[in-house]
Point group: C2
Chain length 470, copies 2
């Protein structure tokens, strides 16, 4: 299979063609591995490539189909993992030298689930160190590069996943978020990334950053791909104390193509403050599309939105420190200076800081719950700015100059703090050819309506037809 053919496939179409035996899992996996071999030096999308294992699994998948086995929903399809998902017998670095030789004895719960569904894992994607790096340059495993222009950020912490998906080095990737680490790279790389509701997917066997804010989630080229992956990942795990026992609907069935009568809430203040003109224009055009498709746009107010930054930090800092405490004391010098500095903050806060933040968090959740009595989804930009360059430590947002990380997490973190499902998908491109993302959030455990809203827009706008040249 040549590169052009490979790039035409999505996760869903590849899975269909394997099921129909039009292509083999081995053929597909070999083509993906070749692409990784060719592009990884330039893009640093992968920390570890598991070529032999992937090919062996692909062979097994082909054999199973020939023997008449029922194909799982991801049967034979290459799909990578952010390198903080535990993989049995394969090192899981979490992007850090501290874990450079860490080889888990067990697969993470969702890793097990996607493999049970037939997925082939070609490798482990690059990420910010422990998903907590501040500098955009990973000091340990190289800096992942934007697939549209290597001088630009691909985002973090699931940057490698975004790059891999955008460049067809696999048909999807499991990323993870604490503050926006799927939606931010999805927006910057021009792919689709979903944060499910907190508790929707098990976190067992995912290296934690801040357990009350961490979420595993799928990234893919299309909304259909992401819906397909979520259907496999979602579900109860009694051994994860935060995972909830809720029925999992068919997310593919939710993709009806219609948003007629859908009530879209627009939180103009905060989320739309000081937007880059190109982002503003792309969002406005997308909202016009929604109106044309029959949705109702309603102005809403999320008064607590501005509190996310303080709340997030006061919760994440001590939770992260608690996990790293022992490693810091024994191997502190192996951490990047940025991550070590950030972790040390967690040692200094008082418990009332944490507890106050948790209290504000419940107020933010309650405000969202009430807002969602009158709307079905909330639409915002994924990022208030256009993609920054890799060397840019600050960005201009309207009249404000702020650290790049602060601007990038501005719109996404609210939904980590509140635990609500949110997706990012492309809604346009800058004049320089870099993608612009739109965020759509929904009610707790109502990923279906988020996917439906995203899919209807995507099928109308068809931005996914535009692919990076590499």
């Amino acid at each position: 299979m040549n590169d052009a053919d490979l790039k035409k496939l999505t996760l869903a179409s590849a899975a269909r063609r394997i099921r129909r035996k039009e292509i083999s899992a081995v053929e597909l996996t070999a083509a993906v591995l070749q692409r990784i071999a060719r592009l990884n030096d330039r893009t640093r999308a992968f920390i570890t490539v598991t070529a032999d294992r992937a090919l062996a699994r692909a062979h097994a998948a082909d054999r199973e189909l020939l023997n008449g086995a029922t194909a799982g929903p991801l049967h034979g399809v290459p799909l990578s993992l952010k390198d903080l998902y535990d993989t049995k017998g394969v090192r899981t670095t979490a992007g850090s030298k501290v874990f450079a030789d860490r080889i888990p004895n067990e697969d993470g719960f969702v890793v097990q689930k996607i493999q049970d569904a037939g997925a082939v894992v070609p490798g482990k994607n690059n990420l910010h160190e422990f998903a907590y790096g501040v500098t955009t340059v990973n000091p340990h495993y190289g800096t992942a590069r934007n697939p549209w222009n290597p001088d630009y950020l691909c985002g973090g912490s699931s940057g490698g996943s975004g790059v891999a998906v955008a460049l067809s080095m696999g048909f999807g990737s499991l990323g993870s978020y604490t503050g926006g680490s799927i939606r931010i790279p999805a927006s910057l790389c021009g792919v689709v990334g979903l944060k499910p509701t907190y508790g929707r997917c098990s976190l067992r066997g995912v290296v934690p950053l801040s357990w009350s804010l961490d979420h595993p989630g799928p990234m893919g080229q299309t909304v259909e791909d992401v819906a397909l992956m979520l259907g496999v990942m979602a579900g109860y795990d009694a051994a994860d104390p935060f995972c909830q026992d809720k029925p999992v609907p068919s997310y593919l069935d939710a993709l009806t193509g219609s948003v007629k009568g859908l009530r879209i809430g627009l939180p103009r203040s905060y989320f739309f403050d000081g937007l880059a003109p190109e982002v503003d224009a792309a969002l406005n055009a997308a909202l016009k599309t929604y109106e044309r498709l029959g949705a109702d746009i309603v102005d809403i107010d999320l008064k607590t939105a501005g509190l996310q930054r303080g709340v997030w930090s006061q919760i994440a800092s001590p939770e992260a420190y608690a996990y790293h405490e022992e490693y810091l004391s024994k191997q502190g010098d192996r951490y990047g200076a940025d991550v070590r500095g950030r972790l040390e903050i967690g040692r200094l806060l008082l418990s009332i800081d944490y507890v106050r933040a948790q209290r504000v968090r419940t107020v933010m959740k309650e405000e969202c719950r009430k807002v969602f009595e009158s709307v079905d989804v909330i639409v915002t930009p994924s990022l208030p700015v256009t993609p920054p360059r890799i060397d840019q430590t600050t960005v201009q947002r309207g009249s404000v100059t702020e650290p790049t990380g602060v601007a990038l997490t501005r719109c996404t973190r609210h939904f980590n703090v509140t635990g609500l499902p949110a997706i990012s998908l492309t809604c346009g491109f800058t004049r320089d050819g870099l993608p612009i993302g739109m965020q759509i959030a929904g009610r707790a455990f109502d990923e279906a309506v988020v996917l439906r809203a995203a899919h209807a827009y995507e099928q109308d706008a068809k931005w996914f037809e535009r692919r990076p040249e590499m």
Copy 2:
């Protein structure tokens, strides 16, 4: 209705007789109010008596029945509330002078539910100040007295509720727990008290102590009474961020009388360490009863049990401080010295102390989950000691002398920390005629099996037939 007749009734039998129009709600309420008037000076079970309101409601209940309305499960039955349940238009002191004039605008969620089910509220029960007092003497509203002997402790924080139920000053009471505040007074007063699973009942409109450890729960004379109340109290409240949307089974149907094949786990270490000989003997006799009834007794090990004390304090202290911060700064001198001192500790802890405690908590939960794969319930003493006298600041537990509060919470707190359902019911009396309690805990959201186990024992042992003389 005379006192002897009143004392023969339980919540369930009173409700049945009202439904059958054999007695009227007014007659019953008047008799209860009379008893409160006669006994409250001596026992300090009530902070506020709402005689006029109660009689008006009882009249309305009688009229509704005469007009052919369907009776709710608690129709016309007097049932009191620990004075930290918000009651619309009736002051809710939380046992503190700080809230001496606090009159809520709304009923708490479960208060609304029991009233919708027809309950008549004769008044608000005494409690430790903000459910957090250390000294057994409430400096503001008088000290509630043990119904079996006024020189002895009735427990806290729901002490007034225990006394009211034991002495038929109402047929039940809604108490609340953070560390054992229902099971401890239930044990000391010789009544039945249930802590439901965390998230089973809404905490909206209950003055918080430590929101991640707080639980509302019913107290009654019999297991049937408690099952009846729980059926009314349980259920989802979207406005309580910690309340869970789970189906509520019929708890009355769970009372089959049979424990054949029930697997009872016995955590000998920690929970049975240094028991008072009379407690030990009562527990052993109860276990023999269970064996005779066909249950299997299995030795289990809860290795993390001893961690409860540190974990509990590190979580409760900052959560309590966060709620009281503003009141402390403005009215600090109105707090009892014991409560103020205890609250101030919460200001000093670091967030990693809190976060570490939450981490240990998940380990404790996970250990319980695994233990409950091989047993259906866990049986322990409710208290390791016999009831202490009111002036006793320390107790002897085996060879150890420890503060009374530490001994009293030793066995109960584990199930606040893990959030699992647990009941206390009488399993014997000391030579001095004071009650001894047995605790039965179960899986998350499996209150039904806890109630079934408790009920089968109760109906065989019939300790409820023994009532205090007052």
